[in-house]
Symmetry: C2
Subunit: 221 residues, 2 copies
Amino acid sequence: MDIAILLYDDMTLLDAIGPYEVLRSLPGTRIRFVTVDGAPIRPDTRALTLVPEAGIDAVTTADIVLVPGGPGDALMQADERVCRWLRAIDATTTWTTSVCTGSLILGAAGLLQGRRATSHWMAYDQLASHGALPTAHRFVEDGKYITAAGVSAGIDMALELMRRIAGDEIAQAIQLAIEYDPQPPFDSGSPTKAPATVVELVRAVSADMLAERRNATATCQ
Amino acid sequence: MDIAILLYDDMTLLDAIGPYEVLRSLPGTRIRFVTVDGAPIRPDTRALTLVPEAGIDAVTTADIVLVPGGPGDALMQADERVCRWLRAIDATTTWTTSVCTGSLILGAAGLLQGRRATSHWMAYDQLASHGALPTAHRFVEDGKYITAAGVSAGIDMALELMRRIAGDEIAQAIQLAIEYDPQPPFDSGSPTKAPATVVELVRAVSADMLAERRNATATCQ
């Protein structure tokens, strides 16, 4: 099982590392982290540097491709090299997947046209602008395309993917190995569950970032 | 708020990146990833390289220190530089924390003597060998020491820590921002919930790694 995970500057690390920690546990799996030009990247906090295995040109086929999200998605959506790579590798995949606003990058490459898909709950409008049908679920499957909701949702999506690929017992074993028995102190992980004041707070704090992203976003089609 | 996160070869990435994604969202937070000698490290899969901000000698105080786990913990438990650093920085912290078998590293430094603590469910015996009192909860608080269970438990612990530090509303906002509304396809994330066959499967697959770790583990006290 060959898995390619795209990394890029200003991405959100958990988007990639959550599902990676699930997918990498399947015996016989090779995970390759790639960046556009093979150069190291820094995530949105700039708190560390990640050195990938290769550039995208060196990884042209995969059983699963995974695209994480984060503020840097705007540049990825507008990057023709990323678009071309995603379209080409998508032609070889069994599953094409994203976490959070990674779905906007799949969308910019034209891969979600007319498909049900999800993204971070604050990014549905941008998903629609790429021709996708925003669908508010933890993860959404449409054909071979599985898109997960914001950040932490990639863990759930990856477990479901493991269930599909390797069966219930292996998926359950991976869940147990990473002790994924969630017990958050609050039940405020979705805008339908969080108090209205909390939803407003997150929207307010994110307003500038969202506006900047909308202005910067182009599509490479 | 100064947060120091230890990285080391053969660690489990999600142990660090889960809580990082929560803690980094608190306004005014500075997160510093450190390695023993400041050199880059590769996690247990060797799938990528992480370049830290500094070596441990350059980061001698912190409000929160966080120690992740993973197969590489054995070398960390036996490394006198790590022990000395942990004891010294612990004297400056408000919270000293770990995820998964990171608690064994805190234990090897003598910081959990007589304290209730947790770890990955397969590592309780080693925790006891460091004088701690293994306690099977998602995360365990004893004084300023908060230890989380395996891998993914660091996310829950970090949200609780945010609640303590910044209050309910900020913690809920962070949970919403990372859309942490867990919906795993199974309820098999703890040995008390998973089918017995799944527990045995994970124990069998991990047997060699656990034996190797037990043989390699020393304490630096």
